[in-house]
């Protein structure tokens, strides 16, 4: 092309300092979930109008646009909605061990969560596959109380 770029000019710095924000995040659904996980259970919120079950549970139903607060327990088994196999890190270097992570729709819920799947060769994972949660020995009310998922 005829266009020639002009002479390079200097750079001057700038910043967007997000440490200056005091973010307020809705914690209700997460608290409900982590409290349940202490008991080895998974709980979300059900919309009493359309029946949609959200895990973690929001304070309102985005379909019906109403307040919702009916706490429901869902199963710790589920179905793979989709998955990916991580093969390199953020810098593009290959990972020593490939990691399978998946979007999993827990039985009884209408939403999906993300989890790792082990005990299966990555080439054998399939969308629609049934999986079950494998919990840590002593759940402490943390999101990683479910250590991973395995084929059912």
């Amino acid at each position: 092309m005829a266009f020639e770029m002009g002479e390079e000019t200097r750079q001057v710095p700038g910043t967007w300092d997000i440490s200056t924000y005091r973010y307020k995040i809705e914690g209700r659904g997460l608290n409900l979930l982590t409290e349940a996980m202490k008991e080895g259970k998974i709980r979300g919120v059900r919309c009493h109008e359309c029946g949609t079950v959200y895990v973690p549970g929001p304070t309102f139903c985005r379909k019906c646009f109403i307040d919702i607060d009916e706490v429901v327990e869902v199963k710790d088994t589920g179905e793979v909605v989709s998955y990916a196999v991580e093969m390199s890190n953020m810098r593009g270097e290959p990972l020593d061990e490939k990691r399978i992570t998946a979007m999993i729709k827990l039985d009884g819920s209408d939403t999906w969560i993300v989890g790792t799947i082990t005990d299966i060769d990555w080439e054998d994972v399939e969308v629609g596959m049934k999986v079950k949660s494998v919990w840590v020995d002593e759940p402490a009310g943390k999101l990683n109380d479910i250590d991973h998922f395995e084929p059912l």
């Binding site: 924000y21 973010y23 307020k24």
Partner: protein, 384 residues
């Protein structure tokens, strides 16, 4: 205008700390407005979010705002500008004939979540002004104040009177921040200097605020309410970004924005035809500059207006009976609040801030340093 558009409802929250996440705040605000109008989210066919990534502290700030305002699987877009201009865009979308109803929502947690002065720093030209660090929200406002006061002989005492009037108005407005009702010009004068001539009480307070309006076409508006407020004229205009090339004592862009809006609305004598004005003066010193550019007062009359109480709620030309931006100021939401306050005035629901017999109102919003970009909307109870 080919299609008549009205504002049919408003809801607003202004607080020193709203104490809930943004998503919940928006849900309660919009749900409340829908309930008030007896509609649900499917009755709105066009959603417009007016928010800013730097006040929200995240990229694509509307990502988490759609569901809370009812826009799940709906036509939604975002204008990152002042609320008066965003509402203009919502109006234009209905005017196109493709929609009948529009919801405009804005929020900014300027008291509890972000730092408003820092948010303004991110607006500075990064290759020059931001590197030098001399100009900021307060120093530019002070230079503008000084320019007006020197040019037209307004005294600091008269500036204090202007601020005191606004703060006193705000104290009567339950939608404003709770403030000291006994604010006198003396109290203002006793507050500390920031950049001279501006003192603390001349400046907008940090506010958590959110506001929502529902707009509708003529047919829909009449279905939804007995008291639609018609949009008669709109206008906006931007001027140069280079502060050293602007006449800070006057607002060229406000004047042009006003002329556009007046032309549409058939206003030939603003001071005579407009019953109440809600302008966005982030600093008390901006009020005379903006109202004069809008032709509500003669040029340079800021001192006189303050002395004679001409802008009082019961004065010749009531300005900001709500308390304006000195009563509460939450960036983009603030422009919507100005419109909401006009809506209250024209529907006779402004309570202790009511201007008797108000039929025509003007709302003004601004963006940028020293109000570089201004938007004006003329509203009326009269359909024709």
């Amino acid at each position: 205008m080919e299609r008549k558009i009205a504002i049919v409802g408003q809801a607003q929250v202004n607080s020193g700390d709203v104490g809930m996440p943004r998503e919940r705040l928006l849900f309660e605000l919009v749900k409340g407005l829908f309930d008030q109008l007896g509609i649900n989210r499917h009755d709105i066919d066009n959603y417009l979010i007016c928010s800013n990534d730097f006040t929200t502290g995240r990229t694509i700030s509307n990502v988490f705002e759609d569901s809370p305002i009812g826009a799940y699987l709906k036509d939604e877009t975002k204008a990152e500008v002042d609320g008066v201009l965003a509402t203009t865009y919502a109006m234009i979308r209905i005017m196109s004939g493709l929609y009948d109803t529009s919801l405009v929502v804005s929020n900014c947690l300027g008291a509890s979540e972000c730092r408003p002065y820092l948010v303004m720093d991110y607006q500075l030209n990064p290759t020059y002004d931001r590197q030098l660090g001399i100009l900021n929200e307060l120093s530019t406002a002070a230079l503008q104040a000084r320019c007006y006061m020197d040019t037209f002989g307004m005294t600091e005492g008269q500036l204090d009177e202007t601020a005191a009037r606004l703060l006193d108005n705000a104290a009567r407005n339950p939608d404003s921040l709770p403030s000291n009702s006994a604010v006198t010009p003396g109290d203002v004068a006793a507050s500390e200097y920031l950049y001279e001539p501006l003192r603390q009480l001349h400046c907008y307070p940090f506010t958590d605020g959110a506001c929502a309006l529902v707009l509708a076409s003529e047919e829909k508006a009449k279905e939804l309410t007995d008291t639609p407020v018609w949009i008669k004229g709109v206008g906006d205009s931007v001027e140069t970004n280079y502060l050293g090339e602007r006449d800070l004592a006057r607002s060229r862009s406000t004047k042009l924005a006003g002329e556009r809006a007046y032309g549409m609305a058939g206003i030939t004598d603003p001071a005579g035809q407009i019953d109440v004005a809600e302008v966005t003066a982030k600093f008390a010193s901006q009020e005379p500059i903006i109202t004069e550019a809008l032709g509500l007062f003669p040029e340079g009359s800021g001192g006189d207006v303050a002395d004679k109480g001409l802008a009082n709620t019961d004065g010749d030309m009531p300005v900001c009976p709500s308390g304006g931006a000195l009563g509460a100021y939450a960036f983009a939401a603030s422009g919507l609040v100005r419109l909401a306050e006009c809506f209250k005035q024209l529907t006779g629901t402004a309570g202790d801030t009511q201007v008797e017999g108000a039929r025509t109102a003007l709302a003004h919003g601004q963006d940028g340093f020293c109000a570089q970009h201004n938007a004006v909307m003329v509203l009326s109870r009269e359909e024709v």
